[in-house]
């Protein structure tokens, strides 16, 4: 178990190194003079010069790279130009909103996706199966932000049931949090729920054909126990594999959802940074979010090894 975790962590090092190089290189890709581009058209040459020095862009590229890694090793991910504070601090402030939203959406995804996948598999080729799979296909095909907009038009503008935007922290008012995050979470979850329903269904169908399921039935176990204990436990394995991908898609999708519902999360922070040319924030934020994702995926792999002993002895 420990070895699996260690091996995965070690293999993540080169990936994270290249990720950090790409993040570093990104700001140097700005066509023309980055300092002038960030400062905007109204800046004086002196201001541009000052900004160039502040960002360290007047140094040779190798020195810039050295300072970049010196900073990273000390936990310094750069400083946001817009907010006037460290990227790490700004990210930490916003991350709880995004994590809360993503977890809520993950719970919805798992509940809807796994349940409808199992039901569809148990009623294979009946109308229940077909309807469930049609809804899943629809969920995959509706763009998340379009679904979000439709929900705003219907539930917020027309019916006035839920607020169309704004955010209430969970610690302040759990009911208010639910009201402000339910529509975003549903619009975020549906796509992944559709994918998961299809994966669960085919996994379940595969497992239900196995001999040990027949054995379980033959020895007279109640059907509920056969399904939940013998079949589902094995069908869960491919599901856990995709949970890592789903978390990655949820965090990625949260960028759009947060912008749409004006939730003050990571996604909103980064889109605002992009729109206001706050490149240090973009660079550092991108690196932080990606590192976070890589760590989540390692956690999922370890979890995978925990539930499937075959992985451990490879």
């Amino acid at each position: 178990m420990f070895l699996v975790a260690l091996r995965r962590l070690l293999s993540a090092i080169p990936v994270l190194f290249i990720v950090s190089l790409i993040s570093f290189g990104l700001m140097r890709l700005i066509p023309g003079d980055p300092a002038a581009s960030i400062a905007g058209t109204s800046a004086t040459p002196a201001q541009i010069e000052q900004l160039r020095r502040d960002l360290g862009l007047d140094e040779p590229l190798l020195m810039q790279l050295l300072h970049y890694y010196q900073g990273l090793l000390q936990g310094d991910f750069g400083k946001s130009l817009l907010l006037g504070k460290g990227v790490l601090a700004a990210t930490m402030e916003r991350l709880p909103v995004t994590i809360g939203l993503s977890l809520y959406a993950l719970v919805l995804t798992l509940l809807i996706g796994v349940a409808s996948g199992i039901i569809a598999a148990l009623r294979q080729n009946t109308w229940v199966d077909q309807v469930a799979m049609m809804i899943a296909m629809l969920g995959i095909s509706i763009p998340g932000f379009f679904l979000g907009l439709l929900m705003i038009i219907f539930f917020a503008v027309q019916l006035g049931w839920l607020p169309s935007g704004g955010y209430v922290p969970f610690t302040q008012d759990p009911i208010g949090w639910l009201r402000s995050t339910t529509m975003p979470a549903i619009s975020l979850a549906l796509l992944q729920a559709g994918l998961l329903a299809r994966i669960t269904r085919s996994g379940m169908l595969e497992v239900l054909r196995q001999d040990y399921v027949r054995t379980a039935r033959a020895k007279g176990l109640p059907e509920r126990q056969v399904i939940l204990k013998h079949a589902l436990a094995n069908a869960l394995i491919p599901i856990v594999t995709v949970v890592g991908i789903i978390i990655s898609l949820l965090l990625s999708g949260a960028v759009v959802t947060e912008a749409l519902f004006s939730l003050p999360g990571m996604g909103q922070l980064l889109t605002q940074a992009v729109l206001s040319r706050d490149y240090p924030m973009v660079q550092g934020g991108l690196l932080l979010v990606t590192t976070f994702l890589v760590l989540v995926n390692i956690l999922v792999d370890v979890l995978y090894a925990l539930i499937d002993p075959r992985v451990r002895y490879e």
Binding site: I18, I22, M137, I140, P143, L149, I153, S202, S252, L275
Partner: protein
């Protein structure tokens, strides 16, 4: 299963039908594939015929006619500047198709090139795949946003950004097929016969590695159209007033109460495109690469 058996029997009866014909026949009989094809063709035809089926310039303002609901005189209604939504959505379709096709073309060329190189030449495999892993570690839409913001918002840069985001995913799929094929006996036979690397790759390995790539590219078309709409909706895609579906929907946000059709019409067009391409991809996967069906 029985379907395949019937076709096989026919194939023998007609003395070896060309395999491509068998595949096309099976695709034509695949209901999901045909539904997807029809949905996709509706949008693609509108995109190609854009100059002939729209009579008003998509950017022509007409404040007198603003917020006209869909119907009399205005097929899809008008927006807050009195621009014809029919013109804007149809021209938006053209842009979506252009971007989707370009991203697919970029992926077809570079994804196959990189994937084949990594899978075939072991020496560069590790390096290429580490770069690939790193690019895939970024959340896709965030990386696309960051790249377009750095390069500046334009149609060309959106294509470039989406290429950078998706090529690693295509390369990975090509590589995994090439690695398996490289060890096959018919490839070793080609080596023994003295074929060079280029000939082995292009004549023996790649033709056999195409099925999963074609399936991937059809899903990729859907991702590209969707990502482009998302980028322009967030304001980092093609610059307004360029009529892209994302731009139109973003502009419609301020008028959801009085003119919800500004959002719903391009949204439905987007949905039809994505759904059509997903159906196409599912159909292609069933016919070309049945093994993958079990995993999904």
């Amino acid at each position: 299963m029985s379907d395949a058996a019937v076709i096989d029997a026919e194939g023998i009866a007609q003395k070896r039908e060309h395999p491509a014909r068998t595949t096309i026949k099976r695709l034509l009989r695949h209901r999901l594939f045909m539904t997807g094809l029809v949905l996709f063709l509706i949008i693609a035809t509108a995109a190609i015929l854009a100059p002939w089926i729209t009579d008003v310039d998509p950017n022509r303002l007409s404040m007198r006619n603003k917020f006209k609901p869909p119907g009399e005189g205005w097929i899809f209604g008008t927006d807050s500047f009195g621009r014809s939504l029919w013109s804007r959505v149809v021209w938006g379709a053209q842009l979506s198709m252009l971007i989707g096709a370009s991203v697919v073309a970029l992926n077809a060329v570079f994804g196959i090139l990189i994937g084949a190189a990594a899978g075939y030449f072991r020496r560069i495999d590790n390096l290429l795949m580490r770069i690939n892993d790193a690019l895939m570690a970024f959340p896709a839409i965030l990386l696309a946003i960051a790249v377009t913001s750095v390069l500046g918002p334009s149609t060309f840069n959106v294509i470039l950004a989406l290429g950078i985001v998706y090529i690693p995913r295509t390369a990975r799929i090509v590589r995994s097929s090439v690695i398996v094929l490289r060890e096959m006996e018919f490839v070793q036979a080609a080596v023994a016969a003295g074929a060079g690397h280029w000939r082995i790759l292009t004549r023996h390995i790649l033709p056999n590695a195409m099925a999963p790539v074609i399936v991937q590219l059809s899903f990729l078309f859907a991702f590209a159209v969707l990502s482009e709409a998302t980028l322009s909706f967030l304001g980092v895609g093609a610059v307004p007033p360029t009529p892209t579906w994302g731009n139109i929907m973003a502009e419609g946000r301020d008028f959801m109460r009085e003119a919800p059709w500004i959002i719903t019409i391009p949204g439905i067009a987007l949905m039809i495109t994505v759904m059509g391409l997903n159906f196409l991809g599912d159909g292609l996967r069933d016919v070309l690469d049945p093994r993958l069906r079990i995993q999904q």
